[in-house]
Structures are given as structure tokens and as C-alpha cells.
Symmetry: C2
């Protein structure tokens, strides 16, 4: 197959972002603006100058005058004065002069307009900076990146409405065999209905391609040749299954050689089932002869065709259901009394699949985009020790792992 | 969530079979006819009466007169006479009187019209009986069965053109928050674009639902209530994300209680992230309040909403990419010199995931339908011992494992 793989079958198209799930980017996406675009609070509390809290402690609270409230979605105009605090909700914009937020849980009301705090905050604490999710001018995604739900959301945050993604490969499907009749027909004794067109149609869809059915052809070199040429004109890749009589597979091989260079690339695989598979290339378009037996045709598809559809620029997203086992690469602490979920990135190192925790401020979008999946720490647990085997529930991840 | 799960949100619809990939059957499918419908050969060779080969051995070959050939797709009319053999290809129909097929590799030509065979075949050897893939009157699939590519092919073999499957659940998506602006808008300082509508849209699609966007609503109980009622009228399940200001989540809870019984079911989860999630039911339709933070909203979706979409009757198919580790439950022999693929069914027994080989005659469709995935035995290997850990490449399997 070495001769087939370097062929780049990809075409790109510009598609509305909501239709891009499971597609791959045809070009890198640059950061067009800063996101979130302003300094935000990650908690409910009070925006302050961090320096005003320095030295606060159990015996010596820092005192602030509450000088108003930041409204959600509004730009606070008034700058903080010395010793002032401003009420702020999660996601609110810090007023000029503020550089940190006190969590409401760490403050106590004093009278109608004052608060006390018993521990200091550092500059930037409980804050996301204007360019922390996306920095204008840097690369947000490289070309070929697979788009999962979180990626669609992340790009929406930057105002992307349409994306340049790879188009699904069009895959022509032809069934051959003198004994094969269309599914609509009532088979006479000796005839069977066309199973391969239907299971291959599903398989192509599953792997992100666009199947095009060309029906059933008798084991006749002229009829098959006409059908192959017809499929060749309007698809990117052709699958011919069957030819159950002994000479029929040779028809497919002969036609591929006649259609154009380089022609037949391999004829037969040291694979069971799947031995009678053949493949060729006609002027950059791959043509496969798959076995007539439906189970063998599906296995040959998985081995030979699916990788081309994936390289073609997209791949169905894999998610949910079956978790993947991996070793956690660092210890994670969790408070008992709640289930805690940690995002992890999967990486195979020296043959071992590791789950690397993706840490980051809670208000950021980026960690959800960088992660491949989640691990859960049960309600009663205090955490997981590094090296423990964990079940990773996949978000939707890439095929390269 | 116990109060939510027993709700049956499913509607069924009759859909052309090629559009049924990843859907679940809304009713059991009975075997409407026998498949393949006639006795077929599974090899290239000679159809014979098995009894004529009894006693054949190295020193004493059985001799047959070749009395013609079975044409593919045709019904052989002439019955076999004593000592006769008829040439047959894989998939050909056995002539009357024949009950087994000699593999061509095990025969030797003798003169122009004779063959010799040095080993006996038993009745039924290298043969598939008329009802071996599907027997008329038995159940082919139970209701709720997930349709993968091989299932589509299997049902096509029986001539099914349309299937009664569950419809995707319509999921209404509403974003709230005074700071949220539509993706098309240019946010002012303090405002951010609507990420949740986009990532939840992808998430709903990924889990087999039909997302319907209702846009962004301010944190105003009247506006939110209007939007919720609008979504309620034309969807099966509603997701409200956000309400980042402190009182906003209470709006959602209050509206759910006002809309109808039983109203709010839970308010807050012992889960991190995802704590502010709430959920209720209004006259059998679930309504969820998801956290405003996009990463937390996705996790809450995975935990609370995805299971409902799955119970709703479908689930995206999981396949390819990441193999699943399992223990092989019996030893498998493989000839060195070829890669061999075995179909396996996954089953969890006492907490251990086992891969049970699905064996069966090579020409049958059924094993490809009964299996969950494949294991490969490498070129140079002689097989796998029972109890060995194997990587199972999934065909597309169900979520219940």
C-alpha cells in the first residue's frame, strides 16, 4: 500500500461552523483576536488591588469599602481607589485598578458597605487575562485538526462563522457477481441479494466518506469496465466488491490496468479473511477490488480503505461508551464528598498509554480543548496516586493514538 | 435522576435502510424468508454426494465423473447420479442430490472428465444451508438493536428496504447570560461570545440527537420563560446553559417549577466541575440547567444528558481508532505466513472484559453481525493462548459494555 498512501485525495471546502463536527481543518486557524478580550473574574466575590490584601491574616484582617458592583456584560468605568472593593460575579470584567478577586466565601460583611478578608490574594488570583484563552496572532489550531464539540465552541468564541475544512471523499461502490440481484428484487434459487453495497455504504459513512452506489454488475468485463469508468468520473475512490466466480477478480485487475497508470499495485493479501483483495491507482485515484464475501469485504475495508478515508481529512469522532485504560502520570487530590472529574490528554510513551492531567484555571476554555477525555474520582475518594490505572472516558479523540 | 430515567422519550419513524446507520430498531425484525434461500457452496470445487467419498484415503482415492458445471446465479436442474461431481464456485447452488463440496485443492484431475479425491467429506461440508443465515419466522434482531454497517448489509440480504427505527431526540439549546452575545456579534469589553450553544450543538449531534438552537437570552425571568416555552413546544428535551450572575440559575429553577409538574427534580450536583447543574421534568419532557462555564457544561452534559439521548434509542457508533483491551476466552490457532483476523464478541464477566471468538462457517453473514470487533494475529504467529490480553478493534459496538 506504500504506493497508495502518499496520494493526497483531499479537497477543501468552506463550511458553516455548525456543520463542521467531525471534519478536519484544511488550514491552520490563527488567533484573530484575544479571547476573552478583557480581564475576567473566575469566581463570585470582590475585585480588589492584590497589594491591599498583603499582610492580611487571622488576627489582622484587611478591610475594604464596597464601592459598587460590576454588572455582567458591562465595562466598569470607575477605577478602584485605595482600600476599595467592587462586587463582581463569575465572568465579570475587572474594573480599572483591580488585579485580583477575593472569593465571597473568604470575606465577611462588615456593616452595610464594608468587607473584611483574613487572607491575602496575589495579583492575577481568580482572574483570567484578556489573552489567556486565545492570543491574537498565535496559532489556535494546526491544519488537519479534528473538530470535536469543544473545538466548535472554542472557535465560536473567536467569532468564526465558517471554516475551511476537508471535504468528505466520494467513494463509488460497485457490486459484481452473476448471482447478485438488487435488494429490491426477489432472488430466484441460486441468487442472493446485494449485501456488500449496503454494508460498504454504512462503512464509508462511518469513516466520514460520502458513499455513491453504482449498483450490481454481471461478471462481464465490458459491463464492469463501463461501470468503473462511470464511477471514476464522479468519485475520488472506487470499491468493487465480489466477482465470486473464479475469473471475475481478474476482470477487475485487468480493467484497472487498462484504465491508466500506474494501474494494479497489489493483487492478493497475506490476510485471512481478505486474501483476494486487490488494489490499484488510476491517475491518482485508488481503486480497490474487495472480496465478494461480505465479512471479508468489511475486514479488507478496515485494513485498506479506512486509513485512506482518515488521511483524507476526517474521521468519525470516537467517544463515550467504552473507556480507555491508561496510567495516570501524576497524583491528583480530590475532596471526598463529591465526584471530581479531571481532564486528561492521552499519550503513548514507550508503548504505555499515559493519561496526563490537563490542569488550568477553572474559567478557561483552553483545557477542554487540549484534553482527550475525562477521568472521574469517586465521591468518597481522596484522589488518585500517580501510576494508577484509570479509565479515561473519551471526549472524542483522534485516531493517531 | 431516578425520576427522569424511566421517561420514554422515544418516537419511531420508518426510514429507508441506507439512512439507518447508527439508529436503533423501534421493533423486532422477524426473519421474513430464509437466507441464503438455497444450499450454497462456501468454496470453489466439486459438488458431490458425501457418501460417495466415504472410505477414500491415501491409497484409495474416490473417483468421480465431472458431469458439468453450476453457473453462478443459476439453479442447477440436473440431479447428481452415483459417482458424479459437478464443478461449482463459491456461492454456487448445490445441484439436487449433492450434499457436500470437495475443495478444488483436494482433488486431482484424471483425464478430461474425471477427478480423484484422497480424503472423504462429510454431509454438509463446505456448504451453507438455505436457512443458515436467516431462518424465516425466527427473530433476526430484537427491538432497540443498534444498526452498524454489517447490520444494514444483513437486513439488505433479506430484502428490507425501510426500517422502523427510533427518531433522533430534538434537543432545544438556550444560552443565558447578560454578558453573552451571539457569535456573529463583536463583543464589547465585558462581553463574550456564546460558546455553549456551539459546543452543545456538537455534543447533541455526537450523541445522535437533533439540536435546535434558540439563541442567547438575557438573565431576565420573563424573557427566559418565553424562550423556554417556545423551545418546549417543539423539542423533546431542553438545555439551558449559563446564568452566570448569582440569581440567574434560580430563574431557570423557578421557571421549570412554574411550567408544570413534577417540575424541578434536583438542584446542584456533588460533582466538580458541574456543581450548579439542575434538572427537572415538565409533563414528561426533561429540562436541564447546565453550568455557564463551557467545560463544566460539557461534563454535565456527558453525565446527565448523554444517557438520556442513548436511552432515546440510538447512539453514535464507536469504532476503529482506539482498540479495547480484553482477555481472549479460548485459544485460537493461526497459520504463520498470513495475518489472520478473528471476530470476537465482548462480554464483561465478573468485572473482566472478555473477548469471546465468534466462530462459524466462512461464508456465513451471521458471525459478522454477532461480533463486536476484530482481533488480529500477526503474520509470524501460530495463534493466541486462552487468557492472553488482546487489543480488540471495534466494529462499532453498543454502549452497554
Amino acid at each position: 500500500m506504500a504506493a497508495l498512501l502518499p496520494i493526497d485525495l483531499r479537497r477543501s471546502e468552506v463550511v458553516p461552523i455548525l456543520q463542521c463536527l467531525g471534519r478536519r481543518l484544511a488550514e491552520a486557524v490563527p488567533g484573530r483576536e484575544n479571547v476573552p478580550g478583557f480581564t475576567r473574574s473566575t469566581v463570585d466575590g470582590y475585585a480588589v488591588k492584590a497589594a491591599d490584601t498583603f499582610g492580611a491574616g487571622d488576627g489582622a484582617p484587611a478591610y475594604f469599602t464596597v464601592a459598587g458592583e460590576v454588572l455582567m456584560g458591562a465595562r466598569p468605568e470607575q477605577a478602584l481607589e485605595l482600600g476599595e472593593a467592587v462586587r463582581i460575579s463569575t465572568g465579570g470584567m475587572l474594573p480599572p485598578g483591580a488585579d485580583a478577586v477575593l472569593m465571597v466565601e473568604h470575606t465577611e460583611l462588615v456593616g452595610a458597605e464594608g468587607i473584611e478578608v483574613y487572607r491575602p490574594v496575589g495579583p492575577g488570583e481568580n482572574v483570567i487575562y484578556a489573552d489567556e484563552d486565545i492570543r491574537a496572532g498565535t496559532e489556535v489550531y494546526p491544519a488537519n485538526n479534528l473538530l470535536r464539540p469543544q473545538d466548535i465552541g472554542y472557535l465560536a468564541a473567536m467569532g468564526e462563522l465558517r471554516l475551511n475544512v476537508f471535504a468528505p471523499l466520494r467513494v463509488g461502490i460497485i457490486s459484481t457477481g452473476d448471482e447478485i440481484v438488487p435488494v429490491e428484487a426477489k432472488p430466484s434459487p441460486g441468487q442472493v441479494r446485494d449485501v456488500n453495497s449496503y454494508s460498504l455504504y454504512g462503512q464509508v459513512l462511518l469513516w466520514g466518506g460520502e458513499p455513491v452506489l453504482y449498483g450490481v454488475v454481471k461478471d462481464d468485463i465490458t459491463l464492469l469496465s463501463e461501470k468503473l469508468i462511470q464511477a471514476y468520473e464522479s468519485t475520488d475512490l472506487i470499491l468493487v466488491s465480489g466477482g465470486s466466480s473464479v475469473g471475475a477478480r481478474d476482470h477487475t485487475a485487468e480493467i484497472i490496468n487498462r484504465m491508466g497508470a500506474p494501474g494494479l499495485v497489489f493483487h492478493g493479501l497475506a490476510v485471512k479473511p481478505g486474501k483476494p483483495t486487490l488494489g490499484g491507482v488510476v491517475d491518482r485515484k485508488p481503486v480497490f477490488g474487495l472480496p465478494g464475501h461480505p465479512a471479508a469485504a468489511l475486514i479488507a475495508f478496515d485494513l485498506m480503505v479506512a486509513p485512506l478515508l482518515k488521511f483524507g481529512g476526517y474521521h468519525q469522532i470516537q467517544t463515550g461508551a467504552l473507556p480507555v485504560r491508561a496510567l495516570i502520570s501524576r497524583s491528583l487530590a480530590s475532596a471526598p464528598g463529591r465526584e471530581e472529574y479531571f481532564r486528561v490528554k492521552l499519550q503513548r510513551r514507550q508503548g504505555v498509554l499515559w493519561a496526563d492531567p490537563v490542569l488550568g484555571k477553572s474559567g478557561l476554555l483552553k483545557p477542554m480543548v487540549e484534553a482527550d477525555g475525562l477521568i472521574g474520582v469517586p465521591l468518597a475518594s481522596e484522589g488518585i496516586a500517580a501510576g494508577t490505572e484509570v479509565d479515561v472516558v473519551l471526549f472524542g479523540t483522534d485516531y493517531v493514538l
